[in-house]
Structures are given as C-alpha cells and as structure tokens.
Amino acid sequence: MSVEHGPGRLRNYNDNNSKSSGLITGAFNILYGKICASCSCKTTLWFLGAPMQNEWLYIGLFLVIGIIVPVVPLVFARLVAPRKPNPIKQSTYECGIETVGDSWVQFKAQYYIFALVFLVFDVESVFLFPWALTLKQLPLFVVLEGVLFIGILVTGLVYAWRKGMLEWV
C-alpha cells in the first residue's frame, strides 16, 4: 500500500518527526480497512488501489480547476464590462495609422530552421532522462553509452554550426 499522493496524502514519509505514525496508521486503517469493508467492494477505490492512477487523477483535476479559475474572471468581466463595439475601435492596432496590408507578413525561414534543430535536440535530450535514472545502479559503461549518445547529438550540432545554419542571416 504505497499511496502517497494528493492533498489527502496518506502515508507518513520517513520524516524526522515520526511520532505521529500511530495516528497515521490509524487514518490508514480508517481509509483502507473500514471504509472498504463498509462498502463491501474493494474495487470502488479503484484509483486508490493504483498509486499512479491516483496522481494522474489529481493532476487531471488540477488541470480542470486550473482552467476554471482563469475562466471565472473572464466570464465575470463579460457580465460587468461595457460592450460598445464600433469599427474603429475594433480595427487592428498599428501604431495609430490605418492598417496596411495583410497581417500575413513574410517570415524568415530561419525561424523554421531553428525549430528544426530544436525538435531534434528536444527529442534526444528527453530520451536522456531514463538513462540518467539508471546511472547509480548500473556500471560505468552505461555512462559511456550516454556519452556516446550525446556525442552523436553533438555531431549534429557541429554539422549545423559548420553549415552556417545557426547564423541569423
């Protein structure tokens, strides 16, 4: 039983003050023993049975409430703020003069090149995270594997650099 997530975090970590562990065990029993027994089916606590589920449920709820909180003032503003649109007020802003042309200005392809390099590096550096977690357990050659991985990554960077793709032309 290793449910340790959420505001209702239910296990005492090995903190220095473990005097209260008796009470927490009691709370544990209440949550897992008695309630489960009282509703006579252990599966109703499906998300408590699996700790991962538990944390993602929390994050999902956080996301939902995190969307609701910014929406509330916007809705409130919609109710109280004046709404008197007119064409001049609604025209796109361009430093006081009339808007010239389409907002679709030509972009430098350079933005795109940087996004390309970024994509490759992002994917590769994200893959290094599982590697980083194994360093402590596994022997030294695992480190060297990672270094090889990074070396290949650097080759790409050097190529892009020598090719002049990192210059803002």
Partner: protein, 103 residues
C-alpha cells in the same frame, strides 16, 4: 484497471483509419503529414496498451514507443523540410502538383 484491452485496440484502430483517411483524402502535403502523425500515435497506443496488459515488467512496449517517438520526430523534421523546400521553389504545397518525377 477495469478497462478491457480491446477498448484500447479499437480506439487505436479507429485513430489509424482516420489517419489513413486523412493521408489519402487531403491535397495539402502538410495535412498529409498530420494524418501520418495520427497513424503513428495509433501504433503507439497499441504498443503501450500491450505493455501494460501483457507483461508490465518487460519494458519492450515502452521502449518501442520511445523509438516510435524518435521516428515520428525524424519524419516530421525531414518531411516538413522537404515541403518547405518545395514550396520555396514551386510555390505550392499541393501534393498532386508536385509531379515532376511522375513520368
């Protein structure tokens, strides 16, 4: 985990078919790539579902999914670079009009 494995497989199949439809029905080359992304994700859902349902201690499914991520990223990088390059030369992104090598 009260969800049957078949649900995931059916969802992935539907996603794959939608991607397939997108690839074949769209004119725009970028939209075709969008369809391919959907198909790759359908494959990934299958891989992860099989990992979870068959043998979670064996990480094969997740490792494969990671490789598929890399393949997807590589495909997008090269594919979009090609499209942009073609667009610069021929001012079009419609796949049917890029037919210089057709005959």
């Amino acid at each position: 985990m009260s969800i049957p494995l078949s649900w995931y497989l059916i969802l992935a199949a539907a996603l794959f078919c939608l991607g397939l439809y997108g690839v074949f029905s769209r004119k725009n080359a970028i939209a075709i790539l969008l369809g391919i992304e959907l198909m790759l994700n359908a494959v990934n859902i299958n891989l992860v579902a099989f990992w979870r349902y068959l043998n979670p201690t064996q990480m094969a499914g997740q490792a494969f999914a990671v490789i598929v991520f890399a393949v997807a990223a590589a495909e997008v990088a090269v594919g979009l670079a090609l499209i942009i390059s073609v667009y610069r030369r021929r001012k079009t992104v419609v796949a049917d009009e890029i037919d210089l090598m057709r005959w």
